[in-house]
């Protein structure tokens, strides 16, 4: 370090002498390199000014006094910049550490919230959920009941990032503790609502949809807690129809009765569920309309449900210049028999 410092100080002096005599660009390029080496070795601005003063005094011993004082003055002015520089450096290191910590947490979350897509004859399921940042505040889950029905949950915690992700684990564990029996969706949402209401801060809430699909009958029984509506695609008419039930988001009021409704789907029909990360997509200042989502889905109808959701995601990812504003989740369920 001492050697490096001395070496660079000498080089600085040489370049300075060259520049004072010839004012050539080569010397200026040289000092740029020296300056970069200084930065790399955390040499502070006041030390560079000091090197400058020393070099100048050696080159011009009879420098006039007021000029010398002015340089001392400059050195003094640099001290605070040096401090600021060190603080930023330190904060940067902390940020890197924090980032890697979050990425470990995100990996844990992925493992923790993993759900198995049910493999059922006559049913083609595609699902995608991408966080805007590292951790996901959206959640979906499939529950396979003993009677053959499938529970489908989709939820979105307010906000995004770490707090949303922490909150989501709560939903996951509550769902896990359900009996493997067919349960009316309003009962499930009612239970979750109490859990969330008891365990979150006042401005925290979760929107959720829970449905139970019967592969035998093609019937979906569902209930919504303030969640984005779902859409039913009728293949015969090539038409999307909104479906939902009125109901307050989870976590706001202790006693909420949720409603139940049902639809029946036929061969090639689809159920489309999403979070507001899809509907609130923005293209510059323009918000997308739900019809745009339908149009994109229509373009990929020939693909499998999984390829379809992936293509739709790619479309909106491109639209937002690859910078998701919110966690994005989309689920498509298609009846194939």
């Amino acid at each position: 370090m001492e050697n490096f410092f001395k070496e660079k100080a000498d080089e600085y002096k040489k370049l300075l002498a060259e520049y004072i005599e010839f004012q050539d660009e080569k010397a200026l390029y040289g000092v740029e390199l020296v300056s970069k080496a200084f930065i790399k070795h955390n040499i502070l601005p006041e030390e560079i000014v000091n090197i400058h003063i020393k070099a100048l005094k050696e080159l011009y011993p009879d420098l006039f006094a007021s000029f010398e004082h002015s340089l001392d003055f400059l050195l003094e002015a640099m001290i605070s910049y040096g401090l600021a520089h060190q603080e930023i450096q330190n904060l940067r290191e902390q940020q890197i550490a924090l980032k890697s910590e979050i990425s470990v947490a995100a990996q844990m979350q992925k493992t923790l919230l993993k759900t198995k897509k049910p493999d059922i004859a006559g049913l083609d399921i595609g699902v995608i959920s991408v966080p805007a940042n590292q951790m996901n505040g959206d959640y979906y889950s499939f529950l396979q009941n003993l009677d053959g029905t499938i529970g489908i949950a989709m939820a979105d915690v307010i906000g995004k990032g770490v707090p949303a992700a922490l909150c989501m684990s709560m939903i996951k564990y509550s769902l896990d503790s359900l009996p493997k029996e067919s349960t009316p969706p309003p009962v499930i949402l009612g239970n979750l609502n109490r859990v969330v209401e008891r365990n979150t801060e006042s401005n925290m809430f979760i929107t959720m949809m829970y449905g139970e699909y019967n592969p035998e009958t093609g019937k979906l029984v569902y209930s919504f807690a303030g969640h984005e509506p779902g859409y039913y695609y009728c293949a015969d008419e090539d038409r999307f129809t909104e479906f939902s039930t009125a109901g307050l988001v989870l976590g706001v009021s202790e006693d909420v009765e949720y409603e139940q409704a049902e639809i029946e789907i036929a061969k090639n029909d689809m159920i489309v569920l999403m979070t507001d990360g899809v509907t609130e997509c923005r293209d510059g200042d323009r918000f997308i309309e739900i019809d745009e989502v339908f149009d994109v889905i229509r373009q990929y109808l020939h693909l499998s449900a999984q390829d379809m959701v992936q293509e739709v995601y790619r479309y909106f990812e491109r639209l937002q210049d690859f910078q998701l504003q919110d966690d994005f989740s989309l689920l498509i369920l298609r009846k194939t028999v």
Binding site: S202, N203, M204, V249, V252, E280, D326
Partner: protein, 110 residues
């Protein structure tokens, strides 16, 4: 994007006029404002959202927090002049059922 917050106090009425976007970045200031005005018992807090063009779920959370605070402190919360897109959020989430919301009152003086 910015959010402009104007607070006018008239007797036991606090009128908060908002302009801009309510999201995770602009939320902290509004949260602070809500925190102060909803704590006074008997206070009627009116939030004018006529010039709010966008709100995300963090914004909704603020209104839920404010609503809970008014219940605890015996004050009142009213939302007026919501644009369609913002109003839709309150509808989807079922919050329009538990909050005093007057959607668009276009033009004219009240």
């Amino acid at each position: 994007m910015n959010l402009e917050i104007t607070l006018t106090e008239e007797g036991n009425q606090s009128i908060i006029t908002l302009a801009g976007e309510i999201d995770a970045y602009t939320a902290p200031d509004l949260k602070e404002t809500f925190g102060i005005v909803t704590k006074k018992a008997g206070q009627e807090v009116i939030v004018d959202l006529e010039h709010v063009t966008y709100m995300d779920s963090t914004g909704l959370g603020l209104f839920i927090g404010a609503l809970k605070s008014t219940k605890e402190n015996d004050s009142e919360l009213k939302l007026v002049n919501l644009q369609d897109r913002v109003y839709r959020l309150f509808q989807i989430t079922g919050l329009d059922e538990i909050m005093d919301i007057k959607a668009a009152i276009r033009g004219g003086n009240e």
